[in-house]
């Protein structure tokens, strides 16, 4: 086998996962468009974007963490905690949403820093640490609201923002795009992304290469905290109230989107555009199902099952292409 074809094989294997996923997404869209009503309308597209922004944001910052070989299960709970704190500041503290938003982002950063400290200083496994803070953050949110209170006194402008549009796209879409752009640059164009990959492939190897492993890992978790807080504000604006149960289960949907998007759960490989495709696949599936099945309860369960099936399918296809590549390489060497 010549060296250039080897290179192409390697590259196409990388591309393959994303092309498979793109194909799945298009298939989903065509199917729902064919059987459902009003699927491909501007209204519904806006609706899909609006509803998937928070999960999309969480997935975008989950991706660098998974790239380092870690995981953050606390982002959904942190979203709830930040939403409640933001609501409380607006309603009882008399802060304007802008000031309260700024403080909320700082709180998110601090919460991410807390995760990072436990992971890098005490060298505890990320899964355990964030499983702990998953309960801790949600518990704090419930303690603040005493389990029942909701905060809903927000200025009209804030609520308008949550359901408004700019240049034909929902406001959230622009924020999601901006964050996606930022994360894409971070992962694919800076030394930070390079370091995340190195750490994900070989944490010890990265240390021996003189990379500041702890600082880089900490950065990924702090970023996740900040963006989870941002997602909390957008969530509050969209549903017009802040509740302690905001974002329950979002962490797993975010992980699903990231893994569906081709990022290895063992760290090292993955792309931000793949993650975005993963988000779109999950979002279209749940929206489309709710359109063809009007009974919402059934659609919710079915959506879960089908998302799971999609995940397994996408991963299996990736594995299959790897096997085919390996088989080809063996044959190439033998012949």
């Amino acid at each position: 086998m010549s060296s250039s074809s080897k290179l192409n094989g390697w590259k196409s294997a990388l591309l393959r996962h994303e092309s498979v996923l793109l194909f799945l997404v298009l298939l989903e869209a065509f199917y729902f468009n064919a059987v459902g009503r009003n699927f491909a309308t501007a209204d519904n597209v806006g609706n899909i974007i609006r509803h998937s922004t928070e999960i999309g944001l969480l997935a975008l910052v989950m991706m660098p963490i998974i790239l380092t070989g870690g995981i953050d299960l606390s982002v959904g709970s942190l979203l709830g905690l930040c939403a409640v704190l933001f609501g409380k500041m607006c309603q009882e503290g008399g802060f304007s949403p802008l000031v309260a938003g700024g403080i909320t982002l700082c709180i998110g950063a601090a919460a991410g820093g807390f995760n990072a400290t436990l992971i890098t200083w005490l060298r505890l496994p990320p899964l355990i640490v964030t499983l702990g803070t998953y309960s801790l953050f949600r518990g704090l949110a419930e303690a603040i609201t005493k389990g029942t209170a909701t905060y809903s006194k927000f200025p009209q402008a804030f609520l308008d923002f949550g359901n408004g549009a700019l240049l034909g796209l929902p406001n959230q879409a622009w924020i999601l795009l901006a964050v996606a752009m930022g994360v894409w640059l971070l992962i694919h164009q800076t030394t930070f992304g390079r370091s995340f990959r190195a750490i994900g492939f070989a944490p010890e190897g990265a240390r021996y290469a003189g990379l500041p492993v702890e600082r880089r890992v900490a950065m990924a978790y702090v970023l996740a905290g900040i963006v989870a807080a941002l997602a909390a504000i957008l969530f509050t604006a969209r549903v017009t109230q802040a509740r302690a149960d905001a974002g329950i289960g979002y962490e797993l949907l975010a992980v699903t989107a990231v893994v569906l998007g081709g990022t290895s759960i063992f760290g090292g490989t993955g792309t931000v555009h793949g993650t975005l495709l993963g988000v779109v696949a999950v979002a279209i599936l749940s929206n489309g199902l709710s359109r063809i099945l009007s009974i919402s309860n059934v659609s919710r369960e079915l959506s879960g099952m089908l998302t799971g099936a999609l995940l397994v399918l996408a991963l299996a296809s990736g594995l299959l292409s790897k096997y085919i590549a390996a088989w080809r390489a063996r044959r190439g060497v033998a012949g």
């Binding site: 060296s3 250039s4 080897k6 290179l7 390697w10 164009q189 800076t190 030394t191 930070f192 390079r194 370091s195 990959r197 190195a198 492939f201 070989a202 010890e204 190897g205 990265a206 240390r207 021996y208 290469a209 003189g210 990379l211 500041p212 090292g268 490989t269």
Partner: protein, 522 residues
């Protein structure tokens, strides 16, 4: 004469391209202590693993008690009475001595019932037989290391072992504990057990062994009688043993070292072309408790290659880890270019101009999944990518330059590190650190597991770097390499510098210092 307990004939074993054993013959008689000696990587552990059934030999034959064994598995070896006692006894610390012995010896009964009195009596009996004063009810956790080894020996005896292998049993023992162990070994010998005894300590070999076999580069280079005892066993050994045991203690000690070292330092090594310049690195009484290194005082000059010789565990890699900030020093001083510095992290070491090419290149030296270009620029992110923005063109150019300069065989800068051969991976690892333009380059086993051609290329590169004024600290277990490459040689033993020798010293002197042989006994 009866058949020997164990007879290996022309045993070969390869791992990939590495020939670990190239036709080794070895025999062990009943009531004999046969010592096995050799440098690191000479093939001792492979040979032991063949005897215990852990490795299947590629060729050659194994006879046990005079019978040919075609396929030796660990279970079969156990049944045939082969037991191995490792440096670190593999006992369950939370169980009692009797329970540990029972785990090895008692067959599982149908009812899984435990007969406690029988179990205890049996343990006590076995322990008594080897003269160990250990209570069967003691938890293994509470026992000292030699006591645990005694329990292992008791297990071996209980299993009816006739061939006992001891792998550096005294490495962690005190003098007194050693004597206890020696007494047990002599008892074993008296009761007709054959003992294969592996040790780096020459004095032990002379105190215990009847014969000694020296392995070098996967070959048996000779079997000799030790001392004057049990001369009758000589007949079973190879023809080489004719040099005979005449006042063995003095002659053989020297001869043993000569046998271990063997090779002449050939002229394949590139000659030194540079005069050492100013002192770059100066260590003053450097120590690190966690790394087991103490009182290291050493200078390395610009343009000089200082070899760090010594046995595995002598503290060579530990010293490198201190200098690279992986396990920071807790005593003494590091002076770099005349300035006293502290190094607490690899980032600090890199900032000071210290580069470390680690021993384990697959785990530490190269990230196998990443392209070699990414690997080569990993330590210079700050310099090559100002403002953290990746410059793919500059990275590619730099990688191609190194690929050309170091003659790295790869299909391009995009090739993943794992697709390269060992020698080329080592060049990538080297390139990563040369890219930092270091003042001090620490090389840890730079040619380990590298084929001959790449090895000589790497040697030329190292020599060229020294000529360009780099201070090089080279750790190596490859004696010809240390002798051929170094301008000066520091021999480490027990975590400290045992001897400072000039370059082109003779191998004998280095090995003697590494083994702890005193000057006057040579």
């Amino acid at each position: 004469m009866t058949a020997p307990l164990l007879q290996l004939t022309c045993v070969t074993k390869s791992f990939g391209a590495v020939r670990a054993l190239k036709g080794v013959s070895f025999d062990l008689g009943a009531g004999e202590v046969h010592a096995l000696l050799g440098e690191n990587g000479a093939g001792k552990s492979t040979l032991i693993k063949v005897i215990t059934g852990a490795h299947q030999p590629d060729g050659g034959t194994i006879d046990i008690n005079g019978e040919r064994v075609a396929h030796l598995t660990p279970a079969a070896a156990h049944k045939l009475g082969i037991a191995c006692i490792y440096q670190q006894p593999a006992l369950f610390p939370d169980l009692t001595v009797a329970e540990n012995i029972a785990l090895r010896l008692e067959p599982a009964t149908a009812a899984h019932r435990v007969d406690w009195p029988v179990r205890r009596t049996r343990a006590a009996e076995l322990l008594h037989r080897i003269g160990a004063e250990i209570s069967p009810d003691a938890e293994v956790r509470s026992l000292s290391m030699p006591e645990q080894q005694l329990v292992e020996i008791a297990c071996a005896l209980g299993a009816g072992a006739r061939i006992v292998i001891m792998d550096e049993p005294t490495a962690s023992l005190t003098q007194k504990e050693q004597h206890l162990l020696f007494a047990v070994v002599r008892d074993l010998r008296a009761s007709g057990v054959g003992v294969i005894y592996i040790s780096h300590r020459l004095e032990e070999i002379f105190a215990l062994a009847d014969r000694v076999t020296v392995l070098r580069d996967g070959e048996s280079v000779g079997t000799r009688l030790v001392g004057s005892s049990r001369r009758e066993l000589a007949q079973t050994s190879s023809a080489e043993s004719q040099s005979g045991p005449t006042s063995a203690a003095t002659i053989t000690e020297s001869e043993l070292i000569k046998l271990m070292v063997g090779r002449e330092v050939s002229s394949i090594f590139p000659p030194a072309e540079s005069e050492p310049g100013d002192v770059v690195l100066s260590l003053d009484n450097l120590g690190c408790t966690a790394g087991g290194v103490k009182n290291i005082t050493l200078d390395v000059r610009a343009g000089e290659i200082v070899g760090l010789a010594g046995l595995v565990g002598a503290g060579r890699t530990e010293l490198a880890r201190i200098l690279f900030g992986l396990t920071p020093a807790d005593s003494g001083e590091i002076i770099l270019n005349g300035q006293r510095i502290t190094i607490t992290s690899p980032q600090e070491a890199v900032a000071h101009g210290i580069a470390y090419v680690p021993e384990d290149r697959r785990r530490h030296g190269v990230i196998l999944e990443m392209p070699i270009a990414h690997n080569m620029t990993m330590a210079i992110h700050n310099r090559l990518f100002p403002g953290t923005w990746l410059r793919f063109g500059a990275e590619r150019n730099l990688a191609q330059e190194f690929i050309r300069n170091l003659a790295v065989k790869a299909y391009g800068p995009e090739a993943p590190g794992g697709s390269l051969s060992g020698g080329n991976q080592q060049k990538v690892s080297l390139a990563r650190w040369l890219a930092t333009k270091p003042k001090l380059l620490i090389l840890d086993e730079p040619t380990q597991g590298v084929d001959v051609g790449a090895k000589s290329e790497i040697h030329k590169i190292i020599r060229r770097l020294a000529k360009d004024g780099l201070a090089v600290l080279m750790i190596s277990s490859d004696l010809p390499e240390v002798l051929g490459m170094s301008d000066r040689i520091a021999v480490l033993r027990g975590g400290t510098i045992a001897a400072m020798l000039p370059g082109k010293s003779d191998a004998h002197a280095v090995m003697a210092a590494a083994l702890g042989q005193t000057e006057d006994s040579r």
